[in-house]
C-alpha cells in the first residue's frame, strides 16, 4: 500500500515526502514533485495490475469449474490473462520510472522494491497460468508432443508422476519467461547506453567518411573497419562487417541496434498477425495504441515473444 501523503503539511509530522522548505531550492522542490508524481503513477499502475490479476484469476476459476470457453473457442480467462499481462508490463514500466526519479527517499525506495518483487511473483504466476492454459488446450510444440509421450493429455488418465512432470514443465517455462524478461531488461539498458554513443559516432562517422555504419565503426579506427588492411582481401570475400554472425536470442535476432523510437505504428520486425489468438491480439492492439515509446517497445517485445511460443 502506498502511504498517504500530506503535501500541504509542514514537515513537523512525518510525511511520506519530507520537505525542508526553508532549505530546499526550486529545483529540489520540482524534483520532489516529479518524484511524487511518478510514485503515484506507479501506485496506480500496480493497483490496476492487481485488479486485472484478480479478474483473470476469477475467470480462470470459473473456467476450470465449468469448462467454459468463449464463443471463439478460447478458454475462458484468456482475455483477462492478456489484460493482466499488459497491466503487469505497464506497472513494471511505471515502477522503473518511479525508481529513476526517486530522489533518494528510502521509504519510497523500499516501497518500489517491494512492489517490484510483487510484480515479479505475479508475472511468474501468470506465465505459469498461461502455460497451463496452453497445455490444457493446445500445448507448445514440445509440450504437446512430450506430454503425449508420457501420458494421456486429455487429463483423465494422467498418472500422478505425469501430472507432476507437467507441473514441473510449467514451472520451468515460467522461470524461463522471468529470466528472459530480466535479460531483456538488461539488454534494453545496454541499448540505451549504446544509443547515446551510436548517434554521436554515426554523426561523426557520416561527416568524416560519408558512410552509414552499423554502429560498429567508431572514429579513431579499429580492426573492425571494412577496409582493414589486416584482412586478406584475396581471401576475405565480404569483409565489410556483414560476416558478423547473428546471435541466438530466443526471437532469433541479434540485437545490433536499439529499437528506434519512430512514429510509424508497426516496426518492421513484427511478425504478421495471422494466427493470433486472443492474447496475441490484445498485446498487438495495446502496442499499437501505446504512446510512450519505451512502453510501446516493451509491448512489441512481449508480443514477439508470445508469438514465438505459439
Amino acid at each position: 500500500m502506498l502511504p498517504e501523503t500530506e503535501p500541504t503539511q509542514v514537515a513537523e509530522d512525518e510525511t511520506f515526502f519530507e520537505t525542508d522548505r526553508a532549505g530546499a531550492s526550486g529545483a529540489a522542490i520540482e524534483s520532489q514533485l516529479g518524484s511524487k508524481a511518478a510514485l503515484e503513477a506507479a501506485a496506480d499502475a500496480v493497483a490496476a495490475a492487481g485488479e486485472a490479476l484478480l479478474k483473470a484469476g476469477d475467470e480462470m476459476s470459473d473456467g476450470e469449474q465449468a469448462s467454459a470457453s468463449m464463443g471463439n473457442g478460447e478458454p475462458l480467462g484468456s482475455q483477462s490473462m492478456s489484460e493482466a499481462q499488459i497491466a503487469l508490463i505497464i506497472a513494471r514500466a511505471a515502477l522503473d520510472d518511479a525508481a529513476a526519479s526517486n530522489d533518494g527517499d528510502s521509504r519510497s525506495g523500499q516501497w518500489i522494491d517491494a512492489a517490484n518483487a510483487s510484480i515479479e511473483i505475479a508475472s511468474e504466476a501468470l506465465a505459469g497460468a498461461v502455460q497451463a492454459a496452453m497445455m490444457d488446450g493446445r500445448g507448445t510444440d514440445y509440450d504437446a508432443s512430450d506430454a503425449a509421450q508420457t501420458a494421456d493429455v486429455t487429463g483423465s488418465g494422467q498418472s500422478g508422476s505425469d501430472a507432476r512432470i507437467a507441473e514441473l514443465d510449467a514451472e520451468l517455462e515460467a522461470s524461463i519467461a522471468v529470466f528472459e524478461t530480466d535479460m531483456q531488461s538488461a539488454r534494453d539498458q545496454a541499448a540505451a547506453a549504446l544509443t547515446g554513443r551510436t548517434m554521436t559516432a554515426v554523426a561523426k562517422s557520416s561527416i568524416e567518411t560519408g558512410e552509414t555504419s552499423d554502429g560498429s565503426e567508431v572514429a579513431g579506427g579499429s580492426a573492425i573497419e571494412a577496409d582493414d588492411p589486416s584482412a586478406d582481401a584475396d581471401e576475405a570475400g565480404d569483409s565489410d562487417g556483414d560476416d558478423v554472425v547473428t546471435g541466438r536470442t530466443p526471437d532469433g535476432a541479434r540485437y545490433e541496434s536499439p529499437p528506434p523510437t519512430e512514429e510509424s505504428t508497426i516496426p518492421e520486425d513484427i511478425p504478421s498477425p495471422q494466427g493470433d489468438d486472443i492474447v496475441a491480439k490484445q498485446l498487438r492492439e495495446a502496442a499499437m495504441a501505446e504512446q510512450d515509446p519505451d512502453l510501446k517497445a516493451k509491448l512489441w517485445e512481449e508480443y514477439k515473444r508470445y508469438k514465438a511460443g505459439l
Binding site: L168, L172, A186, R187, L194, G221
Partner: protein, 402 residues
Amino acid sequence: MAKLNHTPLSTRPGSLKGLWFLLGLMALLTSCATTEIVTTTSEPAMVAQVPIEDALRLDVMILPFDPNLERIEAVESDIPVSAEVRRAESRYQAYHLKETLEQTGNWGVVRVIPSPTNFQPLLVQAKILASDGENLRLFVKATDAAGSVWINKEYSDSASKYAYQSVREDPFQDIYNQVANDLLKAHQARNASSIINIQNVARLKFAADLSPESVSNYLQTDRRGRVTVTQLPAENDLVMRRVGRLREQENLFVDTMDDYYLNFYRNVKPSYDEWRYATYDEAVRLRQMQKQARNRLLAGAALIAGGVYAGSQSETWAGDAAAAGAVVGGIGAVKSGMDRYKQAEIHEQALAELTQSLGMEIEPNVLQIEGQSIELEGTLDAQYGQWRRILKDIYAADQGNQ
C-alpha cells in the same frame, strides 16, 4: 728513477694486456646490449579459402585476459603499469580479439564471457605479460570442450610509429591476427568428425551441468582428461529438449554480456588509444635512456676496475698513465650513465602521470563492467540453481513413472 720501458705491445706486461682485454670485453658487451632485434610482421587475419560449413563452425568464447596484477610490480621493463589500466586492458583486448575472430567468418558465435565454463566448444584464455604503447606480449591458450589444447604459446608485437600515425587499425593488430590464424590452422588440422565430437561434448557437458543424473552415461573421460561421447541421446530425448531450451537462455545471457562488453569497449577506446599514442614516444625514449645508462655504467665500471688493476700492476710511467686515463674515462662514463638515468626518470615520471590519468578516467567504466558482470552472473547462477532443482525433480518423477 724508474727506467722508461718501451717494450712492444706483444711483450707488454700482463697488466696492460688485461686492460686491453677489459676494453675489448666492454666493447663487446656494449655492442651486444645495443643490438636490437626488431620483429615485425604484417600477417593479415586469414579467412579459410574453402569456407567452413555452418555445421563445422565452432562457437568461441573468450575470457577477459588475465591482467597479471600480481606481477605488475615485477615486469621486465620499467614502464610504469597501473592496475586500473591493466584491468581495463584485460577486457578491451579480449573484446578486440573477439572482433578480429568474428571478422574472419571462420567461426560460429564469438563472445566474451565473464567466467570460464567447461561446456563451451572452444574457450580462449590469455594472460597479459606486458602492455604499453610500444610493446604487447600475451600468453594465449585455447582449449576445446573435449579437453584438447589448440594453442598454448606466447605472442609479442612492437608497434611502429606509423601504426600511431595511421589510425586505421589497432597498433597491435598483428598479435590478434596471429592468434586468429593459429586458431584457424588448429581447426583445419582436425577432421569433421573431431569437430562434431567437440560440439556434442559441449552440448552434453552443458546437460550434465544441469542434470548430471540424466546424462551420466553419455560422456567418458580418459586419464589425460580428454572427453569422448560414448553414446548420443535420441533426437526426441525429453531431457535434451528441455536442456536445449535452457541452452537458449545461456546464449541469451552471453549475448547480453556481449552488449555490455561492447559498450565498455567503445567507452574506453578513445582514452585508451590516446594513452597508447602518448606513451609510445615516452616508452621508446625511456627504454633508450635506460639502455644508454646501463651501457655507460657498465663501461665506466669496467674502465675503472681495469684502470685500477692496471695501475697496481704497472711498472712504467706509460702504464701508469694509461691506467689513470682508464680510471678517469671510467669515472666520466659512470657520471654520464648517471645523467642518463636521471633523464630516464623524467620520462618514467611522465609515463606514470599519463598512466595514472588514464587509470582515473577509465576506472568508472571498469567498475561498471565488473558490477554488471557480477549482477548478471548472479542472476544466471540463481536461475541455474532453480533449473537444476526442477530438472532433478523431473528426473525423479520420471524414474517413478518407470
